[in-house]
């Protein structure tokens, strides 16, 4: 059963723009399920921690988004973030 929404930190990877998720200890992962998920009250601390670290930061445009844990998976709440996490809903290219 899905739990109520929590927060995680996300951005786009500097070198190639791929969406990445803060996985703690200065690391970022392209898998949303690797993200550190916290209650709303701890979200600002998480954001601050995500924005610390090496220069340049691996992620660009770091922000907090809502997500829920569904079993072993973490699923973003909004459609926008679901699409960011899983890719376009339409096939690539014209052929």
């Amino acid at each position: 059963m899905a739990e109520s929404a929590q927060k995680l930190a996300t951005g786009n990877r500097l070198r190639d723009g791929v969406p990445v998720y803060f996985a703690g200890a200065g690391t970022w992962s392209p898998k949303v399920s690797d993200a550190v998920l916290v209650e709303a009250g701890a979200a600002e601390d998480l954001l601050e921690e995500a924005q610390r670290g090496e220069t340049p930061l691996q992620a660009v445009g770091v922000e907090l988004i809502e997500a829920v844990r569904e079993g072993k998976r973490i699923v973003p709440v909004t459609l926008r973030e679901k699409i960011r996490a899983t890719g376009p809903t339409t096939p690539f290219g014209s052929r």
């Binding site: 070198r15 340049p56 445009g61 459609l79 926008r80 960011r84 809903t89 339409t90 290219g93």
Partner: protein, 550 residues
């Protein structure tokens, strides 16, 4: 076609070197994102949902076959094998890596291409009629004027930081507006005055987005020699009075409507009159030198082509349909302008694979004097094809998935990338276009000309305000809804569509569009097109049908 001179080429090479250094410093942490962002945007590089997006400028939508091959190369080597042609006659790539962008720009520079004028609060790509220079209904080829404006506007120091972006379109066609001129910050129609002199009718303050307006006449007739000086005067007024405190009120259309066109005209004319020693008059020799580069190719004697084409279309219905919908009258006897549809029903509008681009480049070389045009409707054009070559061309296009005979019909849908790619979007556009295209393709011949345009947010990159049927994606409490507008048009009868009523859920859009079309088919008189029926009857019957099932 216009070719860059030594100065242009050196400038582009230097720009690539400069940008390469900027990227290296960003990756090394010597530039912050805040410092780097304007630098990458000046070269057409955005950051979107899944990756960086590179927008490449295609001035006035004209491409050589070599340039199209290079665009295919970029798609294959640096992206996922395809590109997306845009409503500003440009191309964009959705899967770009920052670290590879200097190499991409270096490759593009080899064929005189770049990402300048595709972003930022400055001049954007100058657009024009995709049939420029080949249509019989124009006074003269407008592209030399586009090129003159491009040279003047590119990196113009006084106008590098305008209140907001600035879009210019030019058309010389006398009957049909295929360049959506009235929807531009500044629109230019080449026209003849009572004395027979050719000059410009100048419109100002058009635009779509959050506050859609049609352009208003700033000057009925502007002599050619004064073009740049007058543009400079208009831009100075905008630079001085345009709002910079609110991004939503910063476009020139807001200034035009805040001041009123009379007052704005007074300001521009006063600025123009005050120019004395600094007035930039266009030397005839310079105009001639540029115009010479757009000289028409040598056309062959094509006697017999019309009779041959008539026989072939009589023998093959599918070919006849393609000729009817995808070819257009050419000014040279025995030739046709060919539109290549990038809207196979069910596929993302405007996408083109690397292989398809290479095929079109080959076909352009063989059959169209190595020239291709991009339309603001997200299709491509071969501007000079002998009628005797049409059948072979159609077969080869069809084999490559490019043979859709739907230009101007219901499945020829304009759609922005929407929430599948764009960081600004509220809702998806492409899946709606795919569903509608597949659903309407079977009866689009019976429906006749119909412009469906879809935007995923109020920025209106899909031009929904000027669709006969416009569809705007909205986010309603986390659900995708779509607001429908009716009666818009982007041609010589330009009109902003009216909102039909409450937005409908995504699953209800196809049925809603079906009911609008059924109403039109039931009520139209003779050859009346959708917007004409709408103008005659008003919103009521359409609104009634749209919400009948609700």
């Amino acid at each position: 076609m216009y070719r860059y001179d030594e100065f242009d080429l050196r400038f582009l090479d230097e720009r690539v070197v400069q940008y390469r250094g900027q990227v290296a410093r960003r990756l090394a942490g010597q530039l912050t994102e805040e410092e780097f962002r304007p630098l990458r945007l000046m070269n057409g590089l955005y950051l979107q949902l899944h990756a960086y997006m590179l927008r490449v400028s295609i001035p006035y939508g004209t491409l050589s076959s070599d340039q199209l091959r290079m665009l295919a190369h970029v798609a294959r080597v640096y992206d996922k094998g395809y590109g997306h042609f845009t409503t500003r006659q440009n191309i964009q790539y959705n899967w770009i890596k920052l670290e590879e962008t200097p190499d991409i720009l270096a490759d593009l520079a080899k064929v005189e291409m770049h990402g300048i004028q595709t972003s930022g609060n400055s001049f954007r790509n100058i657009t024009t009629d995709p049939f420029a220079g080949v249509t019989a209904d124009e006074i003269e080829d407008p592209r030399p004027w586009c090129e003159i404006i491009r040279q003047w506007s590119a990196l113009h120091p006084e106008f590098s930081f305008l209140p907001r972006k600035f879009k210019i379109a030019v058309s010389a066609a006398q009957e049909h507006d295929r360049a959506a001129v009235k929807m531009h910050d500044l629109g230019l129609y080449l026209r003849r005055n009572a004395e027979g002199e050719v000059g410009f009718r100048v419109l100002i303050g058009g635009g779509l987005g959050r506050t859609p307006y049609l352009g208003l006449v700033l000057r009925e007739f502007l002599p050619k020699r004064d073009l740049l000086a007058y543009l400079e005067a208009a831009l100075r007024v905008y630079n001085q009075h345009g709002r910079r405190d609110n991004i939503f009120k910063a476009r020139i259309k807001i200034l035009v409507h805040a001041l009123g066109i009379e007052k704005l005209r007074g300001e521009v004319e006063a600025e123009f009159a005050a120019m004395t020693t600094d007035k930039l008059e266009l030397p005839e020799a310079a105009v001639y030198a540029i115009a010479k580069q757009f000289a028409p190719p040598p056309y062959a004697d094509s006697s017999g082509d019309d009779a041959l084409l008539e026989r072939l279309t009589a023998a093959e219905k599918l070919f006849a349909r393609w000729v009817r919908n995808n070819t257009h009258a050419h000014k040279a006897p025995g030739y046709a302008i060919v539109s290549i549809s990038l809207k196979p029903p069910g596929r993302p509008p405007g996408d083109c694979s690397a292989g398809q681009m290479e095929l079109i480049a080959d076909l352009a070389e063989e059959l169209s004097h190595a020239e291709i045009r991009v339309t603001h409707e997200q299709n491509l054009v071969l501007p000079h094809v002998r009628k005797r070559a049409l059948h072979g061309l159609w077969l080869r296009l069809t084999e490559a998935g490019l043979g859709s005979a739907n230009i101007g019909l219901a499945s020829d849908i304009i759609a922005c990338p929407g929430l599948d790619y764009c960081g600004l979007a509220n809702a998806r556009s492409i899946p709606i276009a795919q569903v509608l295209g597949e659903r309407l393709a079977a009866r689009e011949e019976a429906i006749g000309p119909l412009a469906i345009k879809i935007s995923g947010c109020i920025n209106a990159c899909g031009h929904h305000h000027v669709g006969h049927i416009g569809i705007l994606g909205l986010d309603k409490n986390g659900e995708e809804f779509y607001q429908i507008t009716i009666g818009g048009s982007d041609d010589e009868h330009a009109a902003i569509g009216a909102i039909a009523g409450p937005a409908v859920a995504a699953k209800d859009v196809p049925g809603a569009v079906d009911r609008l079309i059924d109403t039109y088919l039931h009520l139209r008189r003779g050859e009346e097109r959708f917007p004409e029926t709408y103008r005659r009857l008003g919103m009521s019957p359409f609104k009634e049908a749209l919400y009948a099932a609700g």
